[in-house]
């Protein structure tokens, strides 16, 4: 059966009830989506307005939808692990070891590659062009390719639950274990190809946003007037361009090892497995900052808006962001202090790791000082920001502890480490993205998210976080290794049961997020954002309507200072109608991006299962699609001034109905914008 490569009927998950139910949920979920689109007769809309869209706002929304779906999937994995460990004292629990290993591998892979990365790309897409006063990103079509390649990777991730087994090698896939000698089968290949394909998408996103921020700013928007969120996306894009090649090389060489009998990382024949670990973390550590810097950007926006005060220490925040970006390339070895480097090498990387906490500390003080003497309004995004500040500092301190190589020798591969990085990533990254989601939701959809359920979600998340992860610090100090399927030490179990309770509280937080979304959609008419500026915002994304017109700005704004929109409101030049409108050139929608993503998905699947003919066919499709697109000199259309005028007239009619300032009724409102000393 060459036609199907190594794919056989035994690859379907009928060998275990748990695996089969996971597959069933995945398949039924996909069928439910297809069914719902059919039921609502929405195929035409989905295809012509979304799948083929090159509009950065729609691409951003699709990224975030992907991220939220994958957040649920990744959370299910986490809950399964917590449940297993809570009961697995002197017992096998309910998960066999191989299955447990798949679950911790997929949890990490999903949360990093298919939850956090799409979430950050989505927020960047939604907001950055509007913050810099641009009509779109520099390369709208490439943006669509990035989205669909990321989706192709996520699709392979979901498919791995249905066809074949996933990797058991953790989200880092260290050789020699991940080599074909010790882990035959398709699991690691699934991991490699999904990461490889999604990685291309991320590299292109990095290039796209760097060019956008450098070349597409509105007149007067100098680099030192950029909002902090845009600054963090700028540095994150640089890191993507420079760091993702390392992941590409690590994956490509491991693919060659596994499938074509190369010897990069094998035990025998001159392989060098440490090289993989270096390459992986050469990407992996910058990746941590790729994820967290945009969240820092969100916090910087949120803290200023809801303290109703200019961001404290703008320049120091920019410098700290850039410094973190540079330093992030000098610390990768702290992920493997115990793997045989000399004391001298370890002490260099330990020192650098300690140093990188300095700019991070600068940021924390800047945020605190922004709140100092501000009139704080406790909306959900602000709650997440404050929760982040308190919790993140604890995680940072445990990080400084781990940066000392002798201490790391004690903690390496224990749950102390697990507690540490969750302590950074959940408040640092996830809280930031959730804050951004609630902060910018009105900009994307034109109505605000329910605040009560947002507040409930916050409290469940933060309490759940502490209950779930503080016991893991203790367990690490008690010597519990990470990734244990069962154990014989009675002293560990109480802590693991507490952690399980914490996971349950986080589950409530997930439920609150879902309820919040449903309630908000149902009651959207009571929370409409008519002005486009629901929070009395400071940066230019609040100058557009909510949701923004396809072209964002009918007339490109003239920027006169930092906090450009606040400044315009203070000078009384906000919401001004131009004398006349001009034609606007817009990119046409195209299916080529989705075709390339789909072919990328097929290519990955074919390579995993050794269906060489299908892989060749998919490559051919990509080649033809690229050539067709590259020969198309007519990819733009002109939106006539009359149509712009029609959209803008509707906007100003809404504005006339709306209160001038949607925050003015809030009890904590500190007063209308006034000119600020610069």
């Amino acid at each position: 059966m060459d036609l199907f490569g190594r794919l056989t009927i035994e690859s379907l998950p009928f060998y275990s009830a748990i695996a089969a139910s996971g597959a069933a949920v995945t398949v039924l979920g996909a069928l439910a989506v297809v069914g719902a689109i059919t039921y609502f007769g929405a195929w035409r809309m989905v295809l012509t307005e979304w799948v083929s869209s090159v509009d950065h706002k729609k691409i951003g929304i699709m990224y975030i939808m992907l991220a939220l779906v994958m957040l649920v999937r990744g959370f299910v994995d986490a809950a399964m692990m917590r449940s297993q460990q809570a009961i697995a004292y002197n017992s096998e629990g309910y998960l066999p070891p191989g299955h447990f290993d798949q679950i911790f591998s997929s949890h990490g892979t999903i949360m990093i590659f298919f939850m956090a990365m799409p979430f950050l790309a989505g927020l960047a897409n939604l907001i950055v062009p509007q913050q810099i006063g641009s009509r779109d990103v520099a390369f709208p079509f490439m943006n669509s390719i990035s989205l669909w390649l990321t989706t192709a990777g996520a699709g392979l991730m979901l498919l791995s639950l249905v066809v074949g087994k996933f990797s058991t090698a953790g989200w880092t896939a260290y050789p020699p274990y991940s080599g074909v000698q010790f882990t035959p089968g398709v699991g690691v290949d699934y991991w490699l190809w999904m990461v490889f394909i999604a990685g291309f998408g991320s590299t292109m996103t990095g290039i796209n946003f760097l060019v956008t921020i450098i070349k597409c700013r509105a007149p007067g928007m100098t680099m030192f007037r950029l909002p902090l969120f845009t600054w963090t996306i700028f540095v994150t894009s640089l890191l993507m361009i420079f760091a993702f090649p390392a992941l590409t090389v690590a994956c490509a060489t491991l693919i060659l090892d596994r499938n074509f009998d190369f010897h990069f990382f094998t035990n025998a024949m001159g392989g060098n497995m440490m090289n993989y670990i270096n390459l992986f973390w050469l990407w992996g550590h910058p990746e941590v900052y790729i994820l967290i810097l945009p969240a820092f950007g969100v916090f910087s926006e949120v803290v200023a808006v809801f303290s109703q005060k200019r961001l404290f220490g703008y320049v120091s925040l920019v410098c700290a962001t850039v410094a973190i970006g540079l330093l992030s390339f000098t610390v990768w070895l702290h992920h493997f202090f115990t793997m045989g480097s000399s004391a001298r090498v370890n002490s260099f990387f330990g020192t650098m790791t300690t140093i990188i906490s300095v700019p991070t500390g600068v940021k924390v003080f800047d945020w605190l000082l922004t709140m100092y003497r501000g009139r704080i309004i406790f909306k959900p995004p602000m709650l997440f920001t404050i929760g982040f500040l308190v919790t993140f500092v604890i995680g940072g301190l445990s990080g400084v502890l781990l940066a000392l190589p002798p201490v790391d020798y004690m903690m390496h591969n224990t749950t102390f480490l697990v507690a540490h990085f969750h302590n950074m990533i959940i408040p640092g990254v996830l809280f930031g993205y959730l804050a951004g989601y609630m902060f910018w939701f009105p900009k994307a959809f034109g109505f605000k998210l329910n605040e009560r359920w947002g507040t409930y979600a916050f409290w469940c998340w933060i309490i759940g976080f502490y209950v779930a992860f503080m016991p893991l610090y203790v367990l690490g100090l008690l010597g519990m290794p990470r990734r244990m399927e069962h154990y014989e030490i009675a002293a560990w179990q109480p802590h693991l049961i507490v952690a399980w309770v914490g996971a349950f509280i986080i589950l409530l937080g997930m439920a609150c997020l879902a309820v919040q979304l449903i309630v908000s959609i149902r009651e959207r008419n009571e929370a409409l954002d008519l002005t486009g500026d629901p929070w009395n915002g400071r940066s230019l994304e609040w100058a557009t309507s909510s949701p923004a017109a396809p072209y964002n700005f009918a007339v490109l704004p003239q920027v006169e200072g930092r906090d450009a929109w606040w400044d315009m409101k203070a000078r009384g030049v906000a919401y001004q109608r131009p004398d006349k409108y001009e034609d606007i050139i817009m990119p046409k929608n195209t299916y080529v991006g989705a075709v390339i993503g789909g072919a990328g998905f097929v290519f990955g699947f074919a390579m995993i299962w050794w269906m060489w003919w299908l892989a060749a066919l998919a490559l051919l499709v990509i080649f033809v699609a690229v050539v067709i697109r590259a020969s198309d000199d007519d990819s733009d259309y002109v939106m006539p001034a009359s149509e712009v005028k029609k959209i803008e007239d509707a906007r100003f009619a809404e504005l006339a109905k709306a209160p001038r300032n949607e925050m003015a009724d809030d009890p904590g409102y500190a007063g209308d914008p006034v000119p600020e000393a610069t």
Binding site: I214, F262, H263, A268, M269, G270, G271, N275, A630
Partner: protein, 198 residues
């Protein structure tokens, strides 16, 4: 086709500039890929696992021939760029065709080298050193092959569309790519072949 046909609106000029800048960034990230492959090669150059070393395998004559045709192809691409700015369509086509021929010669020589090594039992599965060698040089070869396909597509575009502004801007980026591969090859020659043979 005269130069007037190539004058572009300020907005289009801006778009081409953005594309060129984006392409530079892509080349930068590609350069990082090659840098890491070079580093990997240097780490593994001694890991021959009892198999043949570079000294036994590499032929300086063949490497010199490969270098010659590739550098020549860069020169002929340069002539195509000169013809482009002179607006001479048939010369552009001629020089691009010559570039394709030279590039194909390079690929032919490289495939011959690879096949010879594999027949001698010195394929990538023989040792860590050879895995790194085939991956580094093969990745460059793959880039050259993609570049050749791209030149062929551009020959088609020049032929059917003429030297329009979008075509000219694509040719500029193709030029960047082609010369970039030349630079990578010079480094491969200096890091892989010269020390291997000397």
């Amino acid at each position: 086709m005269t130069l007037e046909a190539m004058t572009v609106s300020p907005r289009d000029a801006e778009k081409y500039e953005e594309k060129e800048f984006g392409f530079w960034l892509y080349l930068m990230s590609d350069a990082v890929i090659f840098a890491l492959l070079f580093a990997t090669y240097l780490v593994m150059v001694g890991n021959t696992a009892g198999g043949p070393t570079g000294k036994e395998l590499f032929s300086l004559e063949r490497a010199a021939a490969e270098t010659l045709v590739l550098l020549l192809s860069s020169t002929t691409f340069g002539f195509a760029a000169v013809a482009l700015s002179a607006g001479d369509r048939s010369k552009v086509l001629m020089w691009l065709a010559i570039t394709v021929l030279l590039g194909a010669c390079f690929i032919f020589l490289e495939i011959g080298e690879f096949c010879g090594m594999i027949q001698e039992g010195a394929g990538p599965e023989r040792s860590g050193f050879l895995s790194a060698f085939f991956t580094l040089v093969g990745t460059h070869g793959l880039h050259v092959s993609v570049g050749l396909l791209w030149i062929c597509v551009m020959i088609g575009q020049v032929f059917f569309k003429g030297l329009t502004a979008p075509v000219a801007s694509r040719l500029m980026r193709l030029g960047l790519f082609w010369h970039f591969l030349d630079i990578i090859w010079v480094v491969i020659f200096s890091v892989v072949y010269l020390p291997g043979v000397l």
